[in-house]
């Protein structure tokens, strides 16, 4: 990806990655206790529009995972890598599991957010590392 392209940010999402890099990841909380991920103006569960940022729990738990051997071109040099869905309190998040051998990834593993970088593209990737 060229410098020009990578300078274009996705409002809401890139701000979230910035915050996560600073250890301040958040989710969007609605007054009815639903959690969701940005960018979002409306609670997808109940439709209310007064969403507020709330701190994401520091650790999450892997609910399910896979090790991908056939990636998209954007992760060609990263494969094989583990991808997981992890519970972080009111929200679940999909991320790449880093800092652990892929064969050691399992459901129930406790992780924290770690923004990493694709070896293929140099782009930021939402990651999980074991606590």
């Amino acid at each position: 990806m060229s410098d020009t392209e990578s300078e274009t940010r996705d409002a809401g999402f890139d701000e979230w990655l910035d915050a996560a890099e600073e250890g301040a990841a958040y989710y969007l909380a609605c007054p009815n206790d639903h959690g969701s991920l940005p960018p979002r103006r409306v609670c997808p569960d109940c439709g209310v529009t007064d969403l507020e940022e709330a701190s994401l729990p520091e650790t999450g738990e892997i609910r399910t995972f896979t090790v991908t051997h056939v990636p998209t071109p954007a992760f060609e040099e990263d494969a094989p890598y583990a991808t997981a869905v992890a519970d972080f309190g009111p929200v679940r998040i999909t991320g790449q599991v880093v800092g652990i051998d892929t064969e050691d990834v399992e459901s129930g593993l406790e992780v924290e957010i770690e923004v990493t970088v694709s070896e293929t593209t140099g782009e930021r990737v939402l990651g999980f590392s074991p606590v």
Partner: protein, 388 residues
């Protein structure tokens, strides 16, 4: 409300034809559908056409009017995009338009050109049916998404890769006599278990192939069929559609498909049948685990029991509820925009005795087609019945 008859169906072979444009593929399928129906092209009121990745695979948007031209139809045409459920969604709208009395004859179908992209390009193109920000950018592929569901299923309900392997073996077996199928070759459980991993626990033989192909169906109102003396013994008697959150991680369930359940419940109620009335089904088995989730969502098997249905012989051709007698997406192939309409074609042929596997469902009166988009954020279900 008018009943909706399937007057004719047409399919191209599904497979590897990187040089063929989708307009060429759809032309072939539509010619076959018109010949099968006996309906003149001039009587077509609309074309509803499913396609997912035309912009990426052949730099072609706005495919509706292009495909009307290819089919020789002078009628308004609209493209439907709902990922792998694109032509299922088109069929559903066609059914509702005919029932409403708005149209008497609709050409509905779909096409997809995929193999010219290569494996990496097609993997990338398919991935955009997921949430780009939160899934694709984390490295999730489509096989990866279904692998996440498979692992969640194993954790929640039990089962193992060998159970899934029996689904692949069954669907290859069913495709042996289907001349339109991409793979007409038998495989064994050991082939599935020993195949290269794509996204654990799913390997190469758990996955449907990348395919080129097209499907077309001529639907008419009951009045039109009777006035024109059409031989059209099969009706679409029920239609349903369900939706779910886009990203897998935002779903209540990681190992169930509520969108397919909603679509199935709606289609059954619409047709006035229930799961016990279903003689056989064509379901969206893009990966082996997808067939498990589909047959549970359609209430053909209880949640947690779909995993063993193929191994136990309950869904084989001679089983109590044959599933994917065409070979399914797994062996018949999955040109994504064509798949939903192709399922309607296969169920119609099976019910009318015109399918190489019709002997296995000789007394059947009710078949179901289940088409899923993305990780089942979209789903359509249709009930087809033999009309008196």
């Amino acid at each position: 409300m008018s009943d909706v008859r399937v007057a004719g169906v047409g399919l191209t072979p599904f497979g590897n034809a990187p040089e063929r444009t989708s307009r060429d593929l759809f032309a072939e399928a539509s010619i076959a559908a018109f010949e099968d129906s006996g309906v003149p092209r001039d009587d077509v009121d609309a074309l509803l056409y499913g396609n997912f990745m035309g912009e990426l695979s052949e730099h072609q948007g706005h495919q509706g009017p292009l495909m009307a031209e290819a089919a020789g139809v002078q009628a308004p045409a609209t493209r439907y995009e709902s990922a792998c459920a694109s032509s299922g969604a088109a069929v559903r709208d066609a059914v509702m338009r005919i029932r409403n009395g708005e149209d008497d004859v609709i050409l509905v179908g779909g096409a997809e050109r995929m193999t010219n992209l290569g494996t990496a390009g097609a993997t990338e193109a398919l991935a955009i049916a997921a949430d780009d920000l939160w899934e694709v950018r984390a490295g999730m592929t489509f096989p990866g998404a279904y692998a996440l569901m498979a692992q969640a299923y194993f954790d929640e309900y039990g089962g193992e890769h060998e159970d899934l392997a029996h689904i692949a073996v069954k669907n290859h077996e069913n495709a042996l006599n289907n001349e339109k199928a991409q793979y007409q070759s038998a495989i064994e459980v050991s082939d599935v278990l020993e195949a290269p991993q794509v996204s654990s626990p799913l390997g190469l033989y758990d996955s449907c192939p990348i395919s080129d192909g097209a499907a077309a169906v001529v639907l008419t109102s009951e009045d039109y069929a009777e006035e024109h003396g059409l031989e059209a013994p099969v009706s679409i008697s029920g239609t349903g559609q369900g939706g779910d959150r886009m990203a897998l991680h935002d779903r209540e369930y990681l190992a169930r498909s509520p969108a397919a359940r909603a679509a199935g419940d709606e289609a059954y109620a619409d047709a006035g049948v229930d799961a016990a009335d279903v003689d056989f089904a064509e379901v969206h088995d893009c990966f082996t685990i997808a067939e498990v989730l589909a047959i549970e969502s359609l209430d053909l098997f209880p949640v947690g029991e779909g995993i063993s249905a193929a191994r136990d012989g309950r869904t084989t051709a001679d089983g109590e509820t044959p599933i994917n007698l065409s070979g399914g997406l797994k062996a018949k192939g999955h040109p994504v925009g064509a798949t939903g309409a192709s399922q309607i074609a296969e169920v119609t042929k099976l019910l009318s005795g015109n399918h190489p596997n019709s002997e296995f469902v000789a007394d059947a009166t009710t078949g179901v087609a289940h088409n899923a988009g993305g990780t089942v954020a979209s789903a359509t279900v249709h009930v087809l019945e033999v009309t008196e």
